[in-house]
Symmetry: C4
Subunit: 228 residues, 4 copies
Amino acid sequence: MDDDSRQARWERRTEVPLSLASALFLAAYAVLVLGHTLPAVWRHVCLAAMLTAWALFGVDYAVRWGLSGQRLGFVRAHPVDTLALLLPLLRPLRIVKVYEAVQRHRGEPRLSLHARVVFYAGLSAALLGFAGSLAVYQQERGAPGASILTFGDSVWWTCTTLTTVGYGDVVPVTPMGRTIASVLMVCGLALLGAVTGSFSSWLLQVFAREDGNDGDDGNRGEKRPPGS
Amino acid sequence: MDDDSRQARWERRTEVPLSLASALFLAAYAVLVLGHTLPAVWRHVCLAAMLTAWALFGVDYAVRWGLSGQRLGFVRAHPVDTLALLLPLLRPLRIVKVYEAVQRHRGEPRLSLHARVVFYAGLSAALLGFAGSLAVYQQERGAPGASILTFGDSVWWTCTTLTTVGYGDVVPVTPMGRTIASVLMVCGLALLGAVTGSFSSWLLQVFAREDGNDGDDGNRGEKRPPGS
Amino acid sequence: MDDDSRQARWERRTEVPLSLASALFLAAYAVLVLGHTLPAVWRHVCLAAMLTAWALFGVDYAVRWGLSGQRLGFVRAHPVDTLALLLPLLRPLRIVKVYEAVQRHRGEPRLSLHARVVFYAGLSAALLGFAGSLAVYQQERGAPGASILTFGDSVWWTCTTLTTVGYGDVVPVTPMGRTIASVLMVCGLALLGAVTGSFSSWLLQVFAREDGNDGDDGNRGEKRPPGS
Amino acid sequence: MDDDSRQARWERRTEVPLSLASALFLAAYAVLVLGHTLPAVWRHVCLAAMLTAWALFGVDYAVRWGLSGQRLGFVRAHPVDTLALLLPLLRPLRIVKVYEAVQRHRGEPRLSLHARVVFYAGLSAALLGFAGSLAVYQQERGAPGASILTFGDSVWWTCTTLTTVGYGDVVPVTPMGRTIASVLMVCGLALLGAVTGSFSSWLLQVFAREDGNDGDDGNRGEKRPPGS
């Protein structure tokens, strides 16, 4: 019990710093990819920031592993964390958690369950799409026969991919770019499936509630409650 | 309570005029985009109609903000309204509400919940698609290297996009056209997700009800109720 | 009551003949489209068969309208029937109903609810796809710049369209072909949404039932019922 | 009853060997397709392994048919098994069952219902995609005008197809390749629909549970139970 609470305390305390580190990682990566005409010193600063953030993720992972008292079972029980350690670009998805923490702290009323799933999955998809655009742009830039020439092309490509429209006017051509694209497709498909599925449920709820309100108005005879 | 009822009264009274203004806005925009060979005076009339409608939306937004007694919280609490003020082409989605108001007024029996969601989401998608076709056509027309050359191309492109088929035979190439396309994709994905999700639920309901009816016929032994 | 039963009797008696007429219509259309090298006499026979079938649909629609005792309300209350009268290629979807009638007559055990929705929506999608392939092929054949050159191309195009994959290697280019394609996309999207949605629910059911069976085995300690 | 238990016993005993045969079939097929520069003797070994595995599937099917005591009804009652006999590349989906059997044997805690559906449908999609990539690559390799030139192209094409993105930069052009692609599309659509649908439900569950936990914390006033 005590061990569990130490883990929980660790997670609560590291939540905000780790999320800031995630944001820093993504921002530094963006500068590194987009600012390829910056003086070398800035690029080195960005690289250093990325490595520092990555090191923090590693330390957090190690501490949580240690606190868990598990062996290899920890790796298997936390597949998302392990994946996020290896692919730190997936980390920014944690920012979603911080947003919730901040909102909870302010005591603001929370959205309904479905609306929240729509919101978080949508936000995750946007962050994932931004990270994916950067990564694919970095791979494709300068590749022979590439159709993704500018970062704008890459963002456009990401939009068509995440929505599964897939025009094919701009596509990655390098093996690495295609690998990143495949990861993006699978993650995006699941996230956007969650968005549309929850949106659909939410819409049904809103319509169903509206029906209930109409009944309360009492000015439409068709479904008045028996006692009225 | 009184403040709330004043808000509700305002919304009830402005519902029809605002929807007419939305329809006017869309119609004037359509004439402006499609009738680019009309004499300048007609184009100015259309522009004036659009600006008038937009001003009405602004007045309505301001009055509701005032009646709400809130400060910036109002903007945050009504994200859809704020967005519709900035992008008045999304306004026509309100026509859906008017249709319902008219139908309710006539006292016609309403569709079942799922059928209504299918119907409204489908109608919204159609209106959104029409507005999107116009906007993309306006951006792409005359752009160098454009593949959307006629309004017919633009409508075809919208159909392939909203259904997420995305052949890619005609695609927007200008940055602005691609931005509009991305908004269209995301909105369309959510709406059509709602259409297919609700259609699926509705079909299940219909089949389930049919099963019940079959049981009432009493001529199939497999699932007769115990007392029969 | 009597009027209603006369309607019901009419529908029951015409079910099989009308479905045969639908199948005849589709078959004659297929011969007409695919057999464009047949001697003219055969083509005329096919055309005659199509027109006869269409006339039967019209007679059925008229009789049901008459029996209903309604005026224009009938048209509004039966949108699918009205549409199927105007677009008889959508008729073959009725064959699905006959299949069920035959199966019921034989007293065979029926599939579970979700499995049936998957089956019927899938069958409808296949019939719709076949009719759509024929119609698009007829429009595109011989059009300048067409990429759908053979019926095989058209079937391949239909597969990529109904699954919303949409490669864009073969696409309709004529206005009429694109209109048919749009109808196909929207219908197909709804049907396949129903297929995937129900398949997903069905899979969940199967897995849930399997869990229940495992519980009955009693050889896994984790979720034994309290009294065992 | 006894007959039924003999069937069940047969299925339990053959589960692991048949799955190994499925894996062997897929592995041999992969070597055959990818290793087209291997010496002929190796290719013959692979072919022999494939035929042996296929023969085993046939024997299993025949034994189960015999044990069932049914005539043609067996074929109709086991459509998936019949299909898997004709298209042994669909067999590897059985590996999923073995994974579960192994996990159950070890007594490991099982995932929640939705998580399991996501996992199994995802694993099935991956296996199906791998088998499909091989089959399409074999058909397209060396075809005139083919755009799928390497196995990497084929894998990339499979990713874009199964996620229904469908860029169309690489597409099958041979009739046989397109037939395989269509089967892949339909199966993939259903499987990935199951993945996204279940993922969406699972996410909703996770969020709903989290809400419950927040309520237990007791440190947020908004939704405390009345008696606290």
